[in-house]
Symmetry: C2
Subunit: 151 residues, 2 copies
DNA sequence: GCGAAATGTTAGACAAGGCTAACAATCTGC
DNA sequence: GCAGATTGTTAGCCTTGTCTAACATTTCGC
């Protein structure tokens, strides 16, 4: 039950701190709740930048979901003050939405560059970055950025 | 709308491949659906290892959720063939559950060590690893492992 | 400028994952 | 060996995020 020869790490896993652990999981759950909003806002900013506007149909295509899913999600984003929208019109980011988009893009780029610096191929890097970016703390992001700079 | 001086990367963001992008997001969503199961199975394995058994109350404490939430989740895990359980008894992993737990522990350790090698403090590393481990591809994991070895 | 195609919305279903309140079973200390 | 504490379960509610089917609006081609 102990002294496992494979046990190399101090194992934060350990009994040492169930509470710290609970906090960690709560943090992860909080991050998970924001992931979708972040993905949407980031994508919307991008579409506006590259196409001049963000239409639900383009969001649906790029997110790989159906139009009604997009509609419902956009309603939530509007409710949460990240976007504004009018029926049958394209979408705009609020000030808050723009700030979030900027932050997300920043994180995304650093994570992506970091993975590329590490030697990962572009496609996998893009995929992994999409998943990882929401779970990287400020400190870690700094370390990633530093690594990119010196490589 | 173009030739943004800040546009340093080839921008997989770009219009170049909405479909590839959609696939990436679908992959992320798939990973998200497994995250919780992985967290539970990993924790259950750990509890069995360190305490001899896995009880719902300990899972609840460490995951930072309430007992009924744990109960419902355990039912799903049982339905999916990852654990077996009997009323008012502690939990066991199936063969499949054990395999998944092992794989998760492996990923977790590599990600954790990687973050530590990069210079991150233990607590943040643990927190970030918890979130990141589910979104790291096989290739990336190999690169992480290689980095750890040579540092 | 009209009709077909494309796009957007609404309604309604469903599963996951969280909660509280209430109850049931087990365990523990005398 | 029983009473109270601890642990586990059930019921029921809520939100999120996905879908399909049906309908509404806008846009585009000619």
């Amino acid at each position: 039950m102990h002294d496992d020869p494979h046990e190399v790490l101090p194992a934060a896993s350990d009994d040492r701190s169930p509470d710290l652990r609970a906090e960690a999981f709560q943090g992860v759950r909080a991050a998970r709740r924001n992931e979708l909003a972040e993905d949407y806002v980031e994508l919307i900013a991008e579409l506006i930048h590259s196409h001049g506007e963000a239409r639900p149909v383009d969001i649906a295509t790029r997110m790989g979901v159906t139009a009604p899913t997009v509609a419902k999600t956009l309603d939530r984003l509007a409710r949460d003050g990240l976007i504004t929208r009018a029926k049958y019109r394209s979408i705009f980011l609020t000030e808050q939405g723009r700030a979030l988009a900027k932050e997300c893009r920043h994180r995304h780029e650093i994570v992506l560059r970091f993975l590329l610096s590490l030697g990962l191929d572009a496609e996998t890097a893009e995929r992994d970055a999409e998943g990882i970016e929401h779970h990287v703390s400020e400190r870690t992001l700094e370390l990633f950025a530093a690594f990119v700079s010196r490589n």
